[in-house]
C-alpha cells in the first residue's frame, strides 16, 4: 500500500501557541480523505506544511514520496492546492489569471480550463476583483484541478458554493478519484464532505482525535431532534423519553401541540419507536455543526478515559 501523504509527529508551534500537535496521518494513494474540525483546529496549518508554505517545528511529512522542502517547485507542480482563505485580486480576467497559474503549474490540457469553468458556471471574461466570493472559489477550484495533478489538497473547498455547484464539485472529486488522483480535503462541516470522502480524520486543538470511515463517524454523530406531538400529555412523554439512554438535553413544552427538543447520540431508532404510538405532527433530525457533534462526542470520551 502506498501513501500520497504521510506525516509523522508533525508539529507546528508559533511561540507558545501550538497550531499542530504531533499529527500522524496516512492518506492512501487514490483515496479521498477528509479532515474535519472546527476553525483553529489546525487544518489549514497542516495543509500549508504539506505545500512547504510554512515549515514544521518538529516531525516530518512525505508528500508523493518526497519531503515538501526537498521536493520544492517540482513537487508542487504535482499538487493542486486550494487555500482556505482564497485571495484573488487584480484587474485581470479570470482567464488571464488562470493562464498565469498554468504557466507556473504542470501542463494544462487544451480546453480543460473552459470545460471546468463551464461545469462550475464560471465566467472567465470578468475581472477577478469583481467576482463574488463564490465565483472566486470556483476560480480557485479550476486552478487546483486544471493540470490534473496526482494530489489535490483542498482547504474548505465547498465554502461559498451554492448547493448545485457543491454537487458538481463532488462529481469532480469522484472523477479525479477514478483517474487515480488522491484528494485531501478539509471542512468544518461533516455533511459537506461525507458523500465524497472515504476516510475522515477529526482534528481538534492540533491533534487528530479520531480517524475512521464516514459511515462509522456519521452513525456516532450527535444530532438535534425536534418532535411535535398531539394526543399526548407532556408529563407522560417526558417519562417515556427520559428512559432513552441516547437522548440528552430533553425539553418538553406543553400546549395543544407538545413541542419536544433534544439531542441524540448514535442511532435514532429508539426515539422513532418511542414516539410511534402518538400522533406525530412534525419530526426533524438535524445534523449539528461538527463542532458540536462528533468533536464533543470524542472529547467527552477522552475526558472519561482520564
Amino acid at each position: 500500500m502506498t501513501y500520497a501523504i504521510e506525516t509523522r509527529a508533525l508539529t507546528k508551534r508559533y511561540g507558545r501557541h501550538t497550531a499542530l500537535d504531533g499529527m500522524d496521518l496516512a492518506v492512501e494513494t487514490g483515496s479521498v480523505f477528509g479532515m474535519i474540525g472546527p476553525n483553529g483546529a489546525g487544518k489549514t496549518t497542516a495543509m500549508r506544511l504539506l505545500l512547504d508554505i510554512i515549515r514544521p517545528t518538529s516531525g516530518d511529512a512525505t508528500v508523493l514520496g518526497e519531503s515538501p522542502r526537498a521536493g520544492g517547485a517540482a513537487l508542487r507542480r504535482r499538487i493542486g492546492f486550494l487555500p482556505g482563505e482564497l485571495m484573488l485580486e487584480g484587474r485581470v480576467t479570470g482567464r488571464a489569471l488562470l493562464a498565469h497559474y498554468a504557466d507556473i503549474s504542470g501542463p494544462v490540457p487544451a480546453g480543460r480550463i473552459d470545460e471546468l469553468a463551464e461545469r462550475l458556471g464560471l465566467d472567465l471574461t470578468r475581472h477577478v476583483r469583481k467576482l463574488s466570493k463564490g465565483n472566486k472559489q470556483k476560480l480557485g477550484l479550476v486552478q487546483a484541478f486544471m493540470h490534473e495533478p496526482p494530489l489535490l489538497v483542498l482547504d474548505e473547498p465547498t465554502s461559498g458554493l451554492d448547493p448545485l455547484v457543491q454537487q458538481e464539485f463532488l462529481t469532480m472529486v469522484r472523477e479525479a478519484q477514478h483517474k487515480g488522483q488522491t484528494v485531501f480535503l478539509s471542512s468544518h462541516v461533516l455533511s459537506e464532505i461525507q458523500t465524497a470522502a472515504d476516510h475522515v480524520a477529526v482534528l481538534r486543538n492540533g491533534k487528530i482525535v479520531k480517524v475512521g470511515d464516514v459511515a462509522t463517524l456519521r452513525a456516532s454523530a450527535v444530532r438535534r431532534v425536534v418532535v411535535d406531538l398531539t394526543d399526548v400529555s407532556a408529563d407522560s412523554i417526558r417519562n417515556t423519553l427520559e428512559a432513552l439512554p441516547q437522548l440528552n438535553d430533553l425539553t418538553v413544552m406543553d400546549g395543544d401541540i407538545v413541542h419536544i427538543t433534544g439531542t441524540v447520540e448514535g442511532h435514532i431508532d429508539a426515539l422513532v419507536k418511542a414516539i410511534a404510538p402518538f400522533h406525530v405532527v412534525d419530526l426533524r433530525v438535524e445534523e449539528q455543526d461538527l463542532e458540536s457533534s462528533v468533536i464533543n462526542l470524542y472529547s467527552s470520551e477522552a475526558n472519561n478515559d482520564n
Partner: protein
C-alpha cells in the same frame, strides 16, 4: 523546469502597466516643467546667479543650488537631484514594498507559492520586474532630457545624460532593494516601505549635512546620494566606481533578502 520564460516577471509587468504609465507621465511632466525654463536662467544679465548669491549659503547648498547657471548644474539641481530623485524614491518604495510584502499581506502570495515556483525564483523575478520598471523611468528621463538639450540650451554631453540617469536609477534600485529585501524577510509592507524610503532619505540628509561645513564633510562618504551625484555626472560623466558601489550593495541586499525569504514561513 519552467514551462515558460520568467512567468512571474511577465505577470508583474502586466499587472502594473497602468501604474508604470502614470509614473511615466509624472516624470515627463516634471522634466517638461523644469528643463525648458533653463534658457531664461542662463541668459546673460538675468541676475539670477546674483539672486542665488543673496540666499543664505546654508540654504543654497542644502538645496544643491550652488551652480544653477550651467546646464549641468541646473538639470542636476532641479530634476536629477530633487524632483526626479523624489519621484524615483517614491516609485521604488511603492513598487518594492508591494512586490513581496504587499502580496503576502493581501494573501495572494500563498497561492503563487503553492505552484511550481521556488522562493528564490519569486525573489529574482519580482526584483527584476521592479528594477525593469525603474529602468524604464530612468530611460524615459534620459531620452527626454536629450531631446530638450538643444532647445533648452543645456549643452549636456549625451553620454553624461546617460551617466546622470544611471546614477538616479542607482538610487532608485538601492531603495527598491531595501524594500524588496525587508519585505521578503519580514513579510510586512510597512517595514518594507519604511526601509526603502528611509535609505533614500538618509542618503539625502547625510549629503545635505555634509554640505554645511568642512568639519562634517566626511558625511558625504557614507551618503549614497553623494556617491551618485557627488562627482557631478552630468558635467563630468559617470563615476563608475560609485555606480558599482551603489548597484553592488543593491545586489548584496537582495541576496540576503532572498536567502531569508527561502528559510521563513509565509502566511497571510
Amino acid at each position: 523546469m519552467t514551462t515558460s520564460f520568467l512567468p512571474l516577471l511577465r505577470r508583474n509587468l502586466a499587472d502594473s502597466w497602468r501604474g508604470t504609465l502614470g509614473w511615466t507621465i509624472g516624470f515627463v511632466a516634471a522634466i517638461m516643467l523644469y528643463i525648458p525654463l533653463y534658457s531664461s536662467f542662463s541668459a546673460q544679465d538675468t541676475g539670477f546667479q546674483d539672486l542665488i548669491d543673496t540666499l543664505p549659503s546654508g540654504l543654497a547648498t542644502t538645496l544643491g543650488f550652488q551652480d544653477l547657471t550651467s546646464g549641468a548644474g541646473y538639470v542636476q539641481a532641479t530634476f536629477l537631484g530633487l524632483i526626479g530623485f523624489a519621484l524615483m524614491t517614491i516609485a521604488a518604495t511603492l513598487w518594492s514594498s508591494a512586490a513581496i510584502a504587499g502580496d503576502e499581506e493581501s494573501g495572494s502570495l500563498e497561492l503563487t507559492l503553492a505552484h511550481g515556483v521556488s522562493r528564490v525564483q519569486i525573489m529574482v523575478e519580482r526584483s527584476l520586474a521592479v528594477i525593469l520598471r525603474l529602468t524604464w523611468l530612468a530611460a524615459v528621463s534620459a531620452l527626454l532630457i536629450l531631446a530638450l538639450n538643444d532647445s533648452a540650451g543645456t549643452k549636456l554631453e549625451p553620454a553624461n545624460i546617460v551617466g546622470g540617469c544611471l546614477a538616479l536609477l542607482g538610487l532608485g534600485v538601492l531603495a527598491a532593494s531595501f524594500g524588496l529585501a525587508v519585505g521578503a524577510i519580514t513579510g510586512r509592507r510597512s517595514f518594507a516601505s519604511a526601509s526603502a524610503a528611509g535609505i533614500a532619505l538618509l542618503g539625502y540628509v547625510l549629503n545635505s549635512l555634509g554640505n554645511q561645513s568642512a568639519d562634517v564633510d566626511w558625511l558625504h562618504n557614507i551618503s549614497p546620494y553623494d556617491w551618485a551625484f557627488g562627482n557631478s555626472p552630468l558635467r563630468d560623466g559617470a563615476d563608475w566606481d560609485s555606480l558599482g558601489l551603489i548597484y553592488g550593495i543593491s545586489v548584496v541586499v537582495l541576496v540576503i533578502g532572498g536567502i531569508a525569504f527561502n528559510r521563513r514561513d509565509v502566511s497571510a
